[in-house]
């Protein structure tokens, strides 16, 4: 019993940390898909870029860890704006197939570039000394870095919710998600708004990739391999909301950790089956409104 409890706590803890990472990476995808209806399968590319930027700035530029995280966020956000203006913006009116193919093309290119620069091996993450050890809480040991991820993620979530629910910018985003044409006609520049949201969402993906580099290994196959998970979070949570993907990410993080711990022979099988059943029950996701 004692042992079972210990493993239960451990699974919940690691699951929440994993879920936080999934949320930080995927929330931008949910908002951009809700806002512009763009099927951006290349979202994982931004997360991978964030991870590579983190390891490079730690190992080669010798930056301190917090600064490296900030650099990952800023560089990925800036890069995504360039991509958005040059390429994505041309395809907003195009069909789903064109968007899917275009973003698959981006994934192919990104994995090739990652392989050319960094090789195929996964990147080691050198955490700062203070985050390497164990953290003692109520007589149990927890890895300090995961505690940091959970706390950092929680404060990020709080900041994001405040930003969207309580600020003018957030109100404009919500208005545009609800009804883009109407928002535009009352004077909201939805194009600029979308650019800003896209940058923020991609930057967050970069931050999530950097933050989670120790949990989700940074390697060239990253955008393909984890795409299913990012999409599951968004599809299960529902488009254009912040709350939906959060709940979905936590549930999936915990469920995935639990499955891998107790029934490793099933792998991710149960998660996929659960996702399919849930989407059949509620095609618009847990918190999404029916289209």
């Amino acid at each position: 019993m004692q042992e079972f409890l210990a493993s239960l706590v451990s699974v919940a803890f690691h699951g929440v940390a994993y879920g936080m990472i999934l949320y930080v990476i995927s929330v931008g995808l949910s908002v951009t898909m809700g806002l512009m209806g763009f099927a951006n399968l290349a979202h994982g590319v931004f997360a991978m870029a964030g991870g590579y930027i983190l390891t490079t700035s730690l190992d080669q530029w010798g930056l301190p860890f917090p600064l490296a995280l900030a650099v990952a966020f800023v560089l990925v956000a800036a890069g995504s704006v360039v991509l958005e203006r040059l390429l994505y913006a041309r395809l907003y009116a195009a069909g789903e197939l064109a968007q899917v193919l275009f973003t698959i093309g981006l994934i192919f290119m990104a994995t090739a570039i990652a392989r050319l620069i960094y090789g195929t091996l996964q990147q080691p993450v050198h955490l700062p000394e203070g985050m390497k050890g164990q953290f003692d809480l109520l007589g149990r040991d927890f890895p300090a870095y995961r505690v940091f991820i959970i706390l950092f993620g929680a404060s990020l979530v709080a900041g994001l919710w405040f930003g969207v629910e309580r600020t003018r910018f957030g109100a404009m985003v919500r208005a545009a998600v609800d009804n883009r044409a109407m928002a535009q006609s009352v004077g909201i520049d939805t194009q600029k708004l979308f650019m800003a949201t896209f940058a923020l969402g991609s930057g967050l993906a970069g931050l999530g990739g950097a933050l989670g580099a120790e949990i989700i290994a940074i390697q060239p196959s990253y955008p393909f391999e984890h795409l299913v998970y990012f999409l599951i979070v968004v599809a299960v949570g529902g488009l254009g909301t912040l709350r939906g993907p959060f709940v979905a990410a936590l549930v999936i993080g915990i469920a995935d950790t639990a499955c891998k711990y107790w029934v490793p022979q099933f792998g991710a099988f149960l998660i996929y089956v659960a996702t399919i059943l849930l989407l059949l029950w509620r095609p618009a996701g847990l918190f999404g409104r029916a289209a």
Binding site: A39, I107, F108, A112, V234
Partner: protein
């Protein structure tokens, strides 16, 4: 010309439509050292044709078509390696049956959804099959792949030889049958209604077309064709690897189809030929630059030439005709 499903298009097989078969037969005699590549190309043409039916005609965007290709490949392989059934016709039939069941079962539930949810579900189904194939090592061989596959001579007469001659003819013959059936389907009222659904789903429902049943039929047909292609791959290679089920496999197939041209039957012929010959020449020497180039090509096609190589040819022909006038 892009066939838009109108009744004005003549359903008779035009002279130009025989060229793929003439080339296919000529290639056997002229390029004997490339027969194994040729067989692989023929298999992927069939696979691309099956994708064209759902994506190009029915307008169902799927990321999980590899599910059926892989299921067909494994069905044929498992039948031989685990149950000792070496007859190639039975292997093909088993692949068809498995894919028909799978297509019917998954199509019945997922085709009710649209957009992101549908993308997600197709991807999830392929991922489930990949996960099963990976974990059920005693049946599928897992990550090491399935080996020990035996294929008996076709009709008891034609043995699978080392040079891939028999395999090439088998692939060519099966592709011909697959093409003929697909073409008949597309030029039928059924095909016209598929195009109608692609162009305007709501209106087709409104005019009383049995939309869900049509989509399910097209999806299942396509699943069977993809399964046959998978089974042919198993028979030519006498090996099944996990990669037949991977997302990259579905992605690559989409690249081939868009390269040739979506929704025009022969795009599925041109795309795999160009893609796989280029791959054969370039991919081994420059693997990184190869996938960089493919990505770049895909982006360029989507931005500037969404109707693929055949679309470009169409436009050139139209231009020349205008000049001549």
């Amino acid at each position: 010309m892009r066939h838009n499903g109108s009744y004005s298009a003549s359903p008779r097989i035009g002279l130009l439509e025989w060229t793929p078969w003439i080339i296919g037969i000529a290639a056997f005699f002229l390029l004997p050292e490339y027969l194994s590549l040729g067989a692989r190309i023929l298999i992927f043409i069939l696979y691309a044709l099956s994708l064209d039916l759902v994506v190009g005609y029915a307008g169902i965007v799927t990321l999980g078509h590899s599910a059926f290709f892989g299921l067909g490949a494994y069905a044929a392989g498992i039948l031989s390696a685990r149950f000792g059934v070496a007859d190639p016709a039975l292997q093909l039939l088993a692949a068809m049956a498995a894919c028909a069941l799978m297509g019917l079962a998954t199509g019945a539930v997922i085709l009710r959804t649209r957009g992101l949810t549908l993308l997600m579900l197709t991807l999830a189904i392929a991922s489930i099959l990949l996960e099963v194939a990976n974990k059920a090592t005693s049946v599928t061989g897992g990550a090491d792949g399935l080996s020990g596959i035996v294929v008996a001579p076709i009709l008891g007469l034609f043995r699978f030889d080392l040079f891939g001659k028999t395999a090439y003819w088998l692939c060519l013959a099966v592709l011909f049958v697959g093409w003929w059936i697909t073409r008949r389907l597309i030029y039928s009222p059924f095909g016209a209604s598929l195009v109608g659904i692609r162009e305007n789903h709501v209106r087709m429902v409104a005019i009383g077309s049995p939309v869900s049943r049509r989509l399910l039929t097209a999806y299942t047909m396509s699943a069977v064709l993809a399964g046959v292609a998978g089974a042919l791959l198993t028979q030519t290679n006498q090996f099944v690897g996990l990669n037949v089920l991977s997302f990259e496999s579905s992605g690559e197939l989409l690249v081939m189809l868009i390269l040739g041209g979506v929704g025009r039957i022969y795009g599925a012929f041109v795309g795999p030929v160009v893609y796989m010959i280029a791959q054969d020449m370039l991919a081994k020497q420059f693997p990184e630059y190869w996938s960089l180039g493919i990505g770049l090509l895909l982006v360029i096609i989507v931005l500037f030439a969404r109707d693929g190589i055949l679309g470009i040819i169409d436009r050139l022909v139209a231009l020349v005709r205008k000049e001549a006038r």
